[in-house]
Amino acid sequence: MTHTFQQKAFKPGEGADGPETESPQPDFIKVKDFNFFYDSTVQVLFDLNLDIPRQKVTAFIGPSGCGKSTLLRNINRMNDLIDGIRHEGDITIDGHSIFDPHLEVISLRKRIGMVFQKSNPFPKSIYENIVYSLRVAGRNKRSELDEVVERSLRGAALWDEVKDRLKESAFGLSGGQMQRLCIARAIANRPEILLMDEPCSALDPIATGKIEDLIHELKKEYTIVIVTHNMQQAARVSDRTAFFYLGKLIEYDRTEDIFMNPKNPQTEAYVSGRFG
């Protein structure tokens, strides 16, 4: 591509977000005075308060071990599987506490899809990977499953690449495709929220670019929270960025403010790459 100021056909604002101008979305996920302990003595999250807007991408950044994944895994109560954990404070989604004793964790997880660092397809076909949770729920109607597979794969920008080999093993896919398959699987149940924990850290730059473009598309429909140790990625894909250090929320703001004009010197040091 030659670089000139010659204009291409485009509509202003199309594709690009530009500086955020629209009125802020009502807060969707609220973290309130949240403390978290892996056992009664080891506290890893301290007094967290943050509001995550609907249909935006919110990035958690910070040095490794600062508690990003722990907070993320609290949002869908994945940490419940660990013995001895304890929390104080609350997390609400749409005003309802996720720790409400009357709430079934299964129904919470239906509203939340999760994508991990290492893509973890089941040792099954591409097709079965996507419909797995539906089958578990007893939904086996062929036409319905076909519909879910196509919608999910299209949603994950993978359909065109795999539509002719749906019955083949998921392990035949490239790393980037596997990760997009995991995203397809995560959106098969039409969740409202997508949690992503370093979804690109095992991918090359091209595959990473595809996932980032996909995230940009997905936020039209989903509320996305992404943990990333790649600051440029946070800058590229997110609308809000939260910087954590040693289990504390140091700064949380519009992404362009965090990267262009952070208020806290620790944030500035971290995003400038001269931390510690």
């Binding site: 030659t2 000139t4 594709g15 362009e256």
Partner: protein, 224 residues
Amino acid sequence: MARFFQSELDELRTKIVRMAELAATAVENALRSLYDLDADAARRVREDDDILDKLEVEIDAAANRYISLRAPVAGDMRLVTVALKASHELERIGDEASSIAKRVLRMCRQDAVVDVSEIRRIGEPALGLIRDSIDCLVQGDAERAAAIPRGDKEIDEIHRASYGDYIARISAEPEKAPAYIELIFISKSLERIGDHATNIAVETIYLVEGEDIRHTDRTKRSKQ
């Protein structure tokens, strides 16, 4: 593969092109307001300068944002830095047009009818040079851009050569000296506009070829 944020560069391009058109039009309108001694037209040139100032600020903000959030490299980075510099040159061209218009307003108040043929002699090539340099920038035409410094040198010479003419006119019509002094300043503004055209041309060459020819032999050669 076009990334989702690529269109932000297109928006930056659009703003530069719009600013370039406005800057060239400002010079043209300022000159016409002089030829017609039209105070209303001169006033409009001064008012329109606000749009250029505003665009410069917008381009700065968009370019800084792009650098901070998109980490551009290679051609993308050159495009952004050239946008920053070109917007500054265009803003300065707008300032010169505005300054010409201010002097036209003064001349309108003096009500002195003077011969402006010296200004026509420098104004037409200066306007032409600005239009050329903008064209090169927009089209990414480094070859034509390389010829701009030569045109600028010619304008410098026309400007310098006009001193004698102005002295002769002031001696012949001393009562019109204030108006002729305004014309000397207007001539100086047009000469500066040629400098800005050259700077835009140099930026165009950097944009297209990645080579910075400022303060090099290539610049000297291109003036010959």
